[in-house]
C-alpha cells in the first residue's frame, strides 16, 4: 500500500486555485497547435473541455459512441445547477457552498478540489448565460433560483425541468462551432476500447468504429476521459442504456487507479419498477421535493387508495425525522428512509414498491397553474410512464441508482495515476465524496471542462514542447489493437446460449441485492462468491449473433458487460473493505442507534484507490489520506 499524492498547492484554501493558475506553466499560443489532445466523451465535461481547448488553439479530436455529441447523457439531468451567486441575498457564499458540498459528501471528499468547484461555480453561470442558455427568469429579467436537497439557500439555476439538456446544448454548440472552424475533429459512433501507455505515459487510445467494426489507433499528447459514470453496473438505473464503464475501466487496466467504486448514489425520486421486462428506471427531478410532500400510510399493508387515507393516518416521515430539512433531506438519507418503510410493508402501488410524493398541499397553496409552471413537463413525463395523473393523485416514487461518486483517481490537476491521462466529470472521483448533492453534477462537469482542465493540461503539456511522442504506428498501439481484435472476435465465436443482456441482468441483480442501498459483510461476501462464478459462465456461455464487422449492437453490449463484471467485483471488494458507513455507502453493521450512518474517521478518513493486478478479484488497495483543515469534521445531521 502506497500513499497517493494529490499535489494540492500550498497556501490558504481560498487562494490555492489562484496560486496554482499564477504559477502553472503555459504554452505559447503559436505552440498550442503543435499539441494534439484526445477527448473521449461529449457530455458536459467532454464537450466543454474540447471546445475550450480548441478555442485556446490546441488540436483536439473528440470521440463519442453516440451518433451526435448532443446525445450524451448529461442531457437527461433535469433539476438544475448550483452556483454560489447569492442572487437571492439569502446568505449564500463560496464558503457556504463549499461547506454544504463537503458535508453532503460526508467528509470523504478533498477540500481543495471542492473549494475550487465552489469558486468556479459562479463563472459557469456567467459563461452559460453568455452562450445563450435560456435559464428561468423572474419577471424583471433577472435569473431565478430554486432550492435543492442538502442546502438551506436557493442557489440552483434551472431551465424548466430540462437544465441538463440546455447546458449540454450550450456546450455542444460551442463544440459545434469549433468543429465547423476545424479546431476539433469529430469521431462519432466511435467507442474507446483501450488506452495505450508507452514508457509510463499515456500515448493515446484504441477505438472501434461502431458502423464498420474497424479497430484503429489515435495518438495524442494528452488524453481526457470524460466518459461518465458506471451506474449501469446495476442493470436497472436511471442512466441511459448505452452509458458504460469501458473507457474508465480499460484505462484502469492500463495503470490508472480507480477510487472509491463503492460510492454509488441511489436517487430517492424515481418511478418504481412496473414490470419484469423493464430496461431502465426514470428519475423524477429532486426539485419536485421543493413542493411535494413524501408520505406512506401509517398502517402497514394499507390497501386504500391515497385519497381515502385520512390525514392523521399518513406518515410524512421525512418531515417527522428531519424537521429542519424535511422533504429536502439529502439523497442518501431520503432513499434509505423510503427503503426501510417499504421493507416494513408500508409501500404503495400495485407492487407495494413505492412511497407517495404528494402535491395536493402545493396545489391548494399555490394553485394548479403555478405548480404546472414549475413542474409541468415532469408531471407529463410521469403520466406518460406511470399512466396516472399526478395533479389528481400522488406520484409513486422509489429510490434507484443514479450517479456514481467513485471513478478514476485524479489529483488536483485532474490527472490520473498515468501521466498524460486526465479524467473529468462523473468519470473521476474527486468532488462529491461519499454522496453528491443535487444540482452539483452539472456544476462539476462544466467546472472540470471549462475552467480546470484548460489550465492543468497546459501545465502538463508545456514540458513536452519540442519532444517527440509515440505516434499511432508505435508497436504498443499495434499490440493493443491486436488484443482488442481478439477480444471482440472472441465474443462472437463463443457461441454459447445466453445473450449479453441476460448476463447483465443477472449481474445487476447480485450488485443491487448486496451492494445497493444497504450493505453487510455477509452480503458482500456472498456477492464476491457469486460474481466470479457468473463471470466464468459469461466467458463460456455467451452468445453474440452476427459478426464483428458492420453494426452489431449485441457485440457492443458484450464488451461493456465484460467490463461491468470486473468493475462489479472491485465495487464489492471496496464496499467490504470500507468498514464504516458514510454517505451513500451504508454498512448495516455501522449505524447509530437511530439508524444513521456511522463514520469511522480514525480508520477510514481516506480515499481508497485500487490498482489493477490482472485479476479482478484481487485488486491492490492504496490510500490517499484526507485532511480537513477548514471544514469541521463532524457527524452529519439534517435534523
Amino acid at each position: 500500500m502506497t500513499a497517493l499524492d494529490a499535489k494540492i498547492p500550498g497556501g490558504p484554501l481560498a487562494d490555492k486555485w489562484d496560486a496554482y493558475k499564477a504559477t502553472a506553466k503555459l504554452v505559447n499560443p503559436n505552440n498550442k497547435r503543435r499539441f494534439r489532445i484526445l477527448v473521449v466523451g461529449s457530455g458536459l465535461a467532454g464537450a466543454s473541455a474540447a471546445a475550450t481547448l480548441a478555442e485556446l488553439g490546441y488540436q483536439v479530436d473528440l470521440f463519442t459512441f453516440h451518433d451526435s455529441p448532443r446525445r450524451a447523457h448529461s442531457i437527461a439531468a433535469q433539476g438544475g445547477i448550483n452556483a454560489a451567486k447569492n442572487y437571492k441575498g439569502d446568505g449564500d457564499s463560496v464558503d457556504r457552498l463549499f461547506n454544504d458540498t463537503i458535508k453532503g459528501g460526508d467528509f470523504r471528499s478533498r477540500e481543495a478540489n471542492v473549494y475550487r468547484l465552489a469558486q468556479v461555480s459562479v463563472d459557469i453561470i456567467d459563461q452559460m448565460v453568455a452562450q445563450g442558455v435560456p435559464f428561468a427568469r423572474e419577471y424583471g429579467g433577472m435569473l431565478d433560483n430554486r432550492s435543492f436537497g442538502g442546502a438551506q439557500v436557493s442557489r440552483t439555476f434551472y431551465a424548466r425541468g430540462q437544465t441538463g439538456q440546455q447546458l449540454l446544448l450550450g456546450a455542444y454548440q460551442q463544440l459545434a462551432r469549433q468543429i465547423g472552424l476545424g479546431g476539433v475533429r469529430l469521431f462519432n459512433r466511435t467507442e474507446l476500447i483501450d488506452t495505450v501507455v508507452v514508457d509510463g505515459r499515456c500515448a493515446g487510445i484504441v477505438v472501434r468504429d461502431l458502423l464498420t467494426g474497424e479497430i484503429s489507433s489515435h495518438a495524442g499528447h494528452a488524453t481526457v476521459l470524460a466518459t461518465g459514470g458506471y451506474g449501469n453496473v446495476f442493470f436497472l438505473s436511471t442512466n441511459a442504456m448505452n452509458s458504460n464503464v469501458t473507457a474508465a475501466w480499460r484505462a484502469h487496466r492500463r495503470g490508472a487507479m480507480f477510487a472509491n467504486p463503492c460510492y454509488t448514489q441511489i436517487h430517492p425520486t424515481c418511478i418504481p419498477q412496473s414490470d419484469p421486462t423493464q430496461s431502465k428506471l426514470t428519475l423524477m427531478s429532486e426539485s419536485l421535493r421543493n413542493d411535494g410532500r413524501v408520505w406512506v400510510p401509517r398502517r402497514a399493508d394499507d390497501d386504500r387508495p391515497a385519497h381515502l387515507v385520512p390525514e392523521d393516518e399518513r406518515d410524512y416521515y421525512l418531515e417527522r425525522l428531519y424537521p429542519s430539512y424535511g422533504n429536502l433531506a439529502p439523497r442518501d438519507i431520503s432513499s434509505r428512509a423510503a427503503k426501510r418503510l417499504v421493507d416494513k410493508g408500508h409501500g404503495v402501488g400495485p407492487l407495494k414498491n413505492g412511497v407517495y410524493l404528494d402535491f395536493s398541499a402545493a396545489i391548494s397553496r399555490l394553485g394548479r397553474d403555478t405548480v404546472q409552471e414549475r413542474y409541468g413537463n415532469l408531471f407529463e413525463m410521469y403520466e406518460r410512464i406511470a399512466g396516472e395523473d399526478p395533479y389528481a393523485m400522488p406520484m409513486r416514487i422509489y429510490p434507484a441508482t443514479h450517479y456514481t461518486m467513485g471513478g478514476l483517481w485524479v489529483d488536483y490537476e485532474l490527472a490520473t495515476t498515468v501521466p498524460g491521462l486526465y479524467a473529468a466529470g462523473e468519470a473521476n472521483f474527486s468532488d462529491h465524496g461519499a454522496n453528491r448533492l443535487g444540482a452539483s453534477a452539472l456544476m462539476q462537469g462544466l467546472a472540470d471542462g471549462y475552467f480546470v482542465l484548460p489550465s492543468t493540461i497546459s501545465n502538463g503539456l508545456a514540458p513536452l514542447l519540442g519532444k517527440t511522442v509515440p505516434g499511432a504506428d508505435h508497436p504498443a498501439f499495434r499490440q493493443a489493437e491486436q488484443e482488442a481484435r481478439e477480444r471482440f472476435a472472441g465474443y462472437v465465436s463463443r457461441k454459447g446460449s445466453r445473450s449479453p443482456d441476460w448476463f447483465h441482468r443477472e449481474l445487476g441483480r447480485i450488485i443491487w441485492d448486496h451492494c445497493g442501498m444497504e450493505r453487510t459483510r455477509e452480503g458482500l461476501e456472498k456477492a464476491l462468491s457469486e460474481l466470479p462464478a457468473l463471470y466464468d459462465e459469461f466467458t463460456k456461455d455467451l452468445r453474440v449473433t452476427g459478426t464483428d464487422e458492420g453494426v452489431n449492437q449485441t457485440l457492443e453490449k458484450a464488451g461493456r458487460v465484460d467490463d461491468f463484471f470486473q468493475l462489479g467485483m472491485q465495487m464489492c471488494r471496496d464496499a467490504l473493505t470500507r468498514e464504516e458507513s458514510c454517505g451513500a455507502h451504508f454498512r448495516a453493521e455501522y449505524q447509530t442507534e437511530d439508524g444513521e450512518a456511522l463514520r469511522d474517521d480514525d480508520r477510514f478518513c481516506h480515499v481508497a484507490a485500487w490498482e489493477w493486478t490482472g485479476d479482478p478479484m484481487q485488486p491492490k488497495r492504496h490510500v490517499e489520506e484526507l485532511t480537513f483543515e477548514n471544514a469541521h469534521l463532524a457527524t452529519r445531521s439534517y435534523k
Binding site: A76, D126, M128, V129, Q131, L143, Q173, G180, N188, V551
Partner: protein
C-alpha cells in the same frame, strides 16, 4: 397490469446502406401493457439472439424522451400514435391485442439508412456547426445578471430550445425538409439579447447548410404535428423573416469587404 396478446410486428430489415431492404414479420405472443415500445423490441431481440439470428438494430439511449436518439415510423407515424411522445416513452397500453404494427426507419433522403431501423442524422450536426451557436469563448463573460432577459422572451426561447434533434420533423415532412429543426435552433438563439450580434449571419449560414442536405418547406405543418416536443411552426416564419433580412442587408458580404 394486464397483457397484450398476439401482436404481429412487420419490421424493416436492411443489411447495410446499399443493401435492398425488406419487411420481416414477427409474432409477439404476450407482452405487458406496462412495457415500453422499445422494451417490446428488447424482448424480440432476446428471442432472436436465442434463435441464433441477428437482433434488430435500432437507435436508442436515454429512454426518457430527452436525448433524441430513438426514432421509428410506427404505422407510418413518426414516434407512433401518442401525441408529444417519443418512441421510447410510448407504452404498449397504446396498442391492443391482435394489432399488426409496422415499424420502419425514418424515411428521408437526408437521413440515409445505416442498418435496419438505424439512420444517419449527422446532417443535423452540420447545420448547427454552420452557425447554431453564440460566439462566446470561455472566460471573460460578464456577470449573468448584467444581461436581463424578459421572462416572456426567455420562455419563448426555451420553447424552441426544447428541440431534441430526433428528426421526426424531417421524417414526417413529405419533402424531407428540416425547416422546423433549423428554425427551432434559430428561434432559441435569435430571440435572446445575447444572440443579436450574429442573428443574421447565423440565419443565413444555417439555412444554406440546411438546403445542402434537405428538401424545401411547402408549409404542410406535418413537422409540428409530429414533433414530440410540440415545437410551433411559428418558428419557421421567424426564420424566413430573418433569412430575408440577411439577404437584403447582405451582412456577410459587407463584413468581408
Amino acid at each position: 397490469m394486464s397483457h397484450l396478446r398476439n401482436l404481429t410486428l412487420k419490421v424493416w430489415r436492411q443489411d447495410g446502406p446499399d443493401a435492398k431492404g425488406r419487411f420481416e414479420s414477427y409474432v409477439i405472443d404476450e407482452i405487458s401493457d406496462e412495457a415500453s415500445f422499445l422494451e417490446m423490441l428488447d424482448v424480440l431481440n432476446e428471442r432472436l439472439i436465442g434463435e441464433g439470428r441477428e437482433a434488430v438494430v435500432f437507435d436508442h439511449d436515454c429512454r426518457e424522451g430527452i436525448c433524441g436518439t430513438c426514432s421509428l415510423m410506427i404505422d407510418g407515424v413518426a414516434h407512433g400514435p401518442k401525441r408529444a411522445t417519443t418512441t421510447c416513452q410510448l407504452h404498449m397500453r397504446s396498442f391492443s391485442s391482435g394489432d399488426t404494427i409496422v415499424i420502419e426507419p425514418w424515411r428521408a433522403t437526408g437521413f440515409p439508412v445505416v442498418k435496419d431501423l438505424m439512420v444517419d442524422r449527422s446532417a443535423f450536426d452540420r447545420i448547427v456547426e454552420a452557425g447554431g451557436f453564440i460566439t462566446a469563448p470561455t472566460g471573460g463573460a460578464p456577470d449573468a445578471n448584467l444581461i436581463p432577459v424578459p421572462k416572456t422572451v426567455a420562455d419563448a426561447s426555451m420553447d424552441a430550445a426544447a428541440c431534441i434533434g430526433c428528426g421526426a420533423c424531417v421524417a414526417a415532412c413529405p419533402n424531407s425538409a428540416a425547416n422546423l429543426f433549423t428554425a427551432a435552433k434559430l428561434a432559441h438563439l435569435n430571440l435572446l439579447p445575447q444572440g443579436q450580434a450574429e442573428r443574421l449571419s447565423r440565419t443565413e449560414a444555417m439555412v444554406e447548410a440546411m438546403d445542402e442536405h434537405f428538401g424545401s418547406c411547402t408549409n404542410h405543418g406535418e413537422c409540428s404535428a409530429a414533433c414530440p416536443k410540440e415545437i410551433s411552426i411559428d418558428v419557421i416564419a421567424l426564420m424566413n423573416k430573418d433569412y430575408r433580412a440577411s439577404k437584403i442587408r447582405n451582412r456577410k458580404e459587407l463584413s468581408r469587404g
